[in-house]
């Protein structure tokens, strides 16, 4: 819109409130779908990597070629732990035992879980935060608060993990994601059920030592392992989850954007057809085709801006609702993703404006003189 000019495009667009309402709603639904998908994806990424990011370990050592927790099975000989501890620059090293299993309440309700076995003393690689109770002793387990709520469990209740009936000694936080939860048991119990092999060795560096340098030293000193810094391990974990979900998210996003395209295209075309005579008048009065074209583009822009603003508000509401009713699904809206969706939607809006644009450019000013 040019300053000081009558905003004909905007007035035309908002003249029929029902039509513009449907248009904006259609665009908002399309944008909402994309925003929420992106939000769930980003939230899941944060949840999935929460344990890794919160861990005090600077370096993760795993079996050769194993680079992730998810979809992986790492088995290291028990002596790997001492080998890592003997590397210069290593302040501490702890074993982490890991498998995938289910946690089952006494009423039979089940939830997919990672089972982490760790040494309760010193307990560096155990749950980051225990909100109720305490760490596990033999025959005990720490479960996550979301799972505890879902399965209506509390400290002192009993669950079945890896075929063993365990007492809940504590409840941790931030260890449940859209796919699974994490429960923690003592290393001794894990070894008794699953064998002596260590899944990962987590190491902390001495003060002032760089994590990547330490990782290189460990890799050189301990053969047949994959050694990654915490950030590398996080990136790998993100990548595998992204690779698993990208296709479905891409398909859903394309569908949502196509809905947006159809809504913008059809509604602008309908508006252009309804205003064809008036556009003829404007052309007769001296408007060049460029001005009418700019009007159609402005209408697409307005539709997208208003629709997107509504979508953002709705997305925030959806995020709140999901947090309340499905705590294991965390929605995280990230500014780059929001900006990306807006730009995509703008492009969709401009694409949707092409057909009405073509029509408006063909409007004959003489049509203003033909009787209705």
């Amino acid at each position: 819109m040019m300053v000081g000019r009558v905003p004909l495009a905007r007035r035309n667009l908002f003249q029929d409130r029902r039509r513009v309402g449907l248009t904006v709603l259609g665009i908002a639904v399309s944008a909402l779908l994309v925003l929420v998908l992106d939000g769930i994806f980003a939230g899941s990424m944060r949840q999935v990597t929460s344990y890794i990011r919160s861990s005090p370990a600077d370096v993760w050592v795993s079996q050769r070629s194993v680079r992730t927790l998810h979809m992986s099975n790492s088995a290291l000989p028990p002596e790997t732990l001492d080998a890592v501890r003997g590397v210069q620059g290593v302040a501490w090293a702890e074993p982490l035992y890991y498998t995938t299993n289910v946690v089952e309440a006494s009423d039979g309700t089940r939830r997919l879980t990672y089972v982490f076995g760790y040494e309760p003393e010193p307990g560096r690689v155990g749950p980051v935060e225990i909100t109720r109770g305490r760490g596990p002793r033999s025959g005990e387990v720490v479960i996550d608060d979301v799972t505890a709520d879902e399965l209506a469990l509390g400290v002192g209740d009993r669950v079945s993990v890896m075929g063993r009936n365990l007492r809940i000694s504590g409840v941790s936080a931030r260890n449940t994601n859209i796919i699974n939860t994490i429960v923690f048991i003592p290393a001794r119990d894990f070894r008794a059920a699953h064998g002596e092999a260590v899944s990962y060795v987590l190491a902390g560096s001495e003060e002032g030592a760089a994590a990547d340098q330490l990782a290189k030293r460990i890799a050189a000193a301990v053969p047949d392992t994959t050694v990654q810094t915490r950030s590398e391990f996080t990136s790998q974990e993100r990548r595998i989850v992204r690779d698993m979900s990208t296709d479905i998210i891409r398909i859903m996003t394309v569908v949502a954007l196509l809905i947006g395209l159809a809504v913008v295209g059809l509604s602008l075309l309908a508006l252009t057809l309804a205003k064809q005579r008036e556009y003829g008048v404007v052309r007769a009065l001296g408007a060049g085709p460029g001005r009418l074209a700019a009007g159609v583009i402005a209408q697409a822009g307005w539709s997208v801006v208003v629709g997107f603003a509504l979508a953002v508000v709705l997305a925030l509401a959806v995020g709140q609702g999901l947090a309340r009713f499905t705590p294991n699904v965390r929605v995280a809206y990230e500014l780059p993703a929001i900006a990306r969706t807006f730009v995509r939607l703008l492009l969709i809006g401009m694409t949707g404006a092409l057909v009405p644009l073509r029509r408006v450019l063909r409007i004959d000013p003489a049509s203003a003189f033909r009787g209705s």
Binding site: V6, L8, E278, V281, V282, A284, G286, P365, F369, R370
Partner: protein, 282 residues
């Protein structure tokens, strides 16, 4: 009217032919016309006679097949295509049969938009639009939208809109066709006043016999040519003005009714009494 002044509009041998060969339709054939500043010219004629085609060519909306149209020293027939919108915005005022106000805009905005197209923006455009609406006695209806205005008010807004660029030539297409008698006369007088007070040339295309009262000259266009104007009578079916020597007529009881088309004559024939009494009553 200023007889001695140089014409504001000079049309020479203006011709428009649609199609080619046997399918060619000669809408306008070799029309010559000079319109002096302040002169009101009325062009009448039956449907399909070429009136609107002539008007479109005068308004730089249709290219003639041959001939010339000079307005404000510019030959519209040879002006580059992309300059035509600007010419329309700067040199012409248009008044349409259906008012053609933009329904999403108020009366003030309708006029202001035309100001914008003529190059004025912001407060200047708004003040000019308001002044013009006050000139046509619509100062109290500035914020009203077209659907809140009467037919006469709408046409006055359209007249104000046509004046925003202080046009040398005002082109009016059936300006009274959708108005009742009193509003029609009101608009006709307004157009006349604008021509006289501003020295503006006006070309009106219409069937409305009442407009002859405000015209300095009246031309009869038939088959694309100006022909000598003879006495007119009224088609008793559609109410259109037709020449006394019109091709389609009906004789009964010593009276002759004349029609604009064979369809009107045939309709008359189905119930002559009904149409005849209406005609005589009118």
């Amino acid at each position: 009217m200023q007889e001695s002044a140089a014409p504001a509009v000079r049309v020479r041998a203006l011709t428009k032919t649609f199609g080619e060969g046997e399918l060619a339709v000669h809408a306008v054939r070799g029309v010559d016309l000079d319109v002096a500043p302040g002169e009101v010219v009325l062009v009448m004629g039956p449907s399909g006679s070429g009136k609107t085609t002539l008007l479109l060519m005068l308004g730089a909306m249709l290219r003639p097949t041959s001939g010339s149209i000079e307005v404000a020293g510019i030959d519209l027939a040879t002006a580059p295509e992309r300059s035509l919108p600007r010419l329309r915005a700067r040199h012409f005022g248009f008044i349409f049969q259906d008012f053609n106000l933009l329904t999403a805009l108020s009366a003030l905005e309708n006029v202001e938009l035309a100001c914008n197209l003529a190059g004025a923006t912001g407060r200047d455009a708004r003040q000019r639009a308001q002044g013009l609406l006050e000139r046509v006695n619509l100062g109290h209806r500035l914020r009203h939208h077209p659907d809140e205005l009467s037919g006469g008010e709408k046409q006055r807004v359209a007249v104000a809109r046509a004046l925003v660029n202080d046009p040398a030539l005002l082109l009016a297409d059936e300006p009274t066709a959708n108005l009742d008698s009193s509003h029609g006369q009101e608009v006709a007088r307004l157009i006349r006043r604008l021509a006289v007070e501003d020295g503006r040339s006006v070309v009106i295309v219409s069937h409305d016999e009442r407009l002859r009262e405000v015209a300095d000259r009246t031309f009869w266009l038939e088959d694309g040519r100006f022909v000598q104007l003879s006495a007119l009578s009224t088609d008793p079916v559609c109410g259109m003005e037709v020449r006394e020597d019109a091709r389609w007529h009906w004789r009964a009881d010593g009276h002759v009714w004349r029609f604009c088309s064979p369809e009107c004559r045939d309709e008359f024939a189905t119930s002559p009494g009904r149409f005849a009494s209406r005609s005589l009553h009118d």
